[in-house]
Amino acid sequence: METVYLYDGSFDGFLSCVFDSYVYHEEPLHFWDQDSREPTLFSTRDIPTDPAHAERVRIGLGRISPEALWLVIRGFLTCAPDREVILFRFIRRLMVRGRPLLRQLTDDTVFPLRKAVRHLEGEVHLLKGFVRFSDFEGLLAGEIRPKNRVLPLLRPHFCDRMYNETFLLYDRAHREALVYRPGQWAILPMESFRMAAPSQEEAQYRRLWKRFYDTVEIRERHNPKLRRTHMPQRYWETMTEFQGEDYFRPAQPEVPGSAPLPGGSAGEEA
């Protein structure tokens, strides 16, 4: 009997599905979370999230190999369209074959999983560089729109780098935010987030960066195709150097005689 599992979309929820599939001796056809539910002719089963069940699956995987658990955790963060099915098939076969399966890179349950995880890790790597923060009176805020759920993997990097800062990094696509203040972090669901207009100082640093970016190109080597290969255009949306004029305009018009700007003359003259 073909069955579709309905669960709450959480990782623990998915592990509960795995647990229950062994209880009911069935191989579900799909795993639908709240957002992906649709009318179906298949029979459905509601799987309640049970942390104790999830923990038992976690321990089971970790006992086979920590790498297996690591793969499953990452696999769940990927944007592969049927990631639950990919993970489920992998786990089922892993239970039978044990640790040697991990080395069978061309196996049809291992290959799709590794491929999806590579895509996730590639995106994480790029975003370590492409994230842009703005300073709002000491609070740093940035936004991204990734395909995969990258925040859990970006967290260690940015929390280390910005150890003494307070910051917020918002994921527009998955509507969650990484928030940090010294020594404390959290990843929270957040329906929407809008960045305030920049202060004069912030606007000036944006302009300085844009100027640097435009100047550092060697025009004789202009090569937009190569640039797009290394930096796909979908990332540009949230990067300072590709924003329109408004982005560089401060919230308040400049007041003559106010505090000197970072771009104003300072220090000695050349």
Partner: protein
């Protein structure tokens, strides 16, 4: 002059330097300090400029004023151009503010020679010292050691920076004499040797005393200009090999010469930068560093320059038919690495996957092997891939076609020029 103007002038003057990586240093955060240079961001690009080059560091000159007169350089004293000078304070502040916003991984500081090499270096040291002590900047710093700087100052610079570099610029002494009258082979190799020795001593000290200060933990690199002088690829690659062997350099960078001045000793102003040649040199450099090739294997007196049509590895493979085919199920790592289309990552995957079972051609695709190239040089379980003909002419033609798509735009144009010449 305001910071915006200075930044514009001093970026414009620094942009021809090719080095822009932040690899090799590993420092986690420290309490009260700003930033890290964690291993996880090695090779981390923060953006790509319109020419497709990776931008990692705030790459600027301290000043573009210069008392020297190197003929190939925009900053030479005889050139009529706007000059600017960062104060150490404003450059430090700019670096910090760019870094906090995640625009950059750190600072790449070079300079024209203001007054004298020592005077200039002291000014650079002041800026780096401000960054490290006052701002407690813990991110990446790459500093240029200017030929002719006294050893004490180079040492101080190295204690503040993660990486040092002395640029060779012109790959031969003849070129240097003709085009850089104020520099000599000696003035370049002396500081380079000094840095190599200090690095070695520092390593020993660090073994003995855990808290000994770190001297340029990310090592030393250099750069050569390609196409300003008539030196052959063979000459450049042998020099590169010697720099890796003798001076233990971490990286050698190549920069295609962009004509900036009319001079009878230099290529004319309408010469296009030799991008394809630069590309081939980087490919060959990669083979030296990660694939176990030696310079003398890749080029010899008969063929002193790279084939523009196919990459150096394919070129080597075509010249050594006796080495192939390689049986992927039995070959060692070194052998696999010599197969066109097999990289360091896919070689590792092959070694791992074949322990589970013997591989066939379809498996290799999944392991990331570029079959369009590899298929001519391998067997799986003794068999050549279906439909593949091992005919020298057709292999060459197919290899050329296989790489064409991967070459960036301008380079393809250059290739079609070669096509017409063939």
């Amino acid at each position: 002059m305001d910071v915006m103007d200075k930044l514009t002038i001093l970026t414009d003057a620094a942009k021809y330097d090719a080095a822009c990586t932040s690899s090799g240093a590993q420092r986690r955060h420290r309490a009260g300090a700003i930033g890290n240079t964690s291993a996880s961001v090695a090779g981390c690009c923060h953006t790509f400029s319109g020419d497709g080059r990776c931008v990692t560091l705030l790459k600027v000159l301290m000043t573009n004023c210069c008392v020297y007169d190197c003929k190939y350089c925009v900053n030479r004293c005889s050139n009529d151009t706007r000059r600017a000078l960062f104060s150490p304070e404003e450059l430090a502040e700019l670096t910090i503010q760019f870094y906090r916003r995640n625009y950059i991984e750190g600072l790449f500081l070079s300079s024209g020679v203001l007054v004298s090499p020592d005077y200039t270096t002291e000014r650079m040291i002041r800026c780096l010292d401000l960054l490290r002590s006052r701002h407690r900047f813990n991110g990446y710093i790459h500093a240029k050691a200017i030929p002719g700087t006294s050893p004490e100052l180079v040492t101080r610079l190295g204690l503040l920076a993660d990486r040092l570099s002395v640029n060779i610029e012109l790959p031969s002494e003849r070129g240097l004499n003709a085009l850089a009258p104020n520099k000599s082979r000696q003035s370049i190799f002396r500081p380079m040797g000094l840095i190599t020795n200090t690095l070695r001593q520092n390593k020993e000290e660090l073994v003995k005393y855990r808290h000994a200060p770190h001297f340029a933990p990310a090592g030393q690199s250099t750069q050569m200009i390609i196409g300003a002088t008539p030196d052959s690829d063979r000459h450049i690659l042998s020099l590169t090999q010697a720099l890796y062997d003798k001076y233990r350099l971490k990286r050698v960078f190549y920069s295609a010469y962009v004509p900036v001045v009319e001079n009878t000793l230099l290529p004319s102003l309408d010469t296009k930068p030799p991008l394809l040649r630069e590309h081939r040199l980087y490919q060959a450099d990669w083979l030296l560093r990660f694939y176990g090739f030696r310079a003398e294997e890749l080029l010899d007196e008969e063929d002193p320059n790279f084939n523009p049509l196919v990459d150096p590895k394919c070129s080597w493979a075509l010249k050594h038919p006796a080495f192939f085919p390689v049986e992927v199920n039995d070959a060692g790592r070194e052998e696999l690495l010599r197969v066109p289309g097999v990289g360091t990552v896919s070689a590792g995957r092959i070694l791992s996957a074949r322990r589970a079972r013997r591989l066939d051609h379809e498996d290799l695709r999944k392991l990331g092997v570029v079959m369009k190239r590899a298929q001519y040089f391998i067997t799986c379980k003794g068999k050549v891939a279906e439909g593949v003909k091992l005919h020298a002419d057709s292999i060459l033609r197919n290899l050329i076609a296989a790489e064409r798509a991967a070459l960036p735009g301008t380079e393809t144009e250059q290739l079609s020029l070669f096509d017409r010449a063939v």
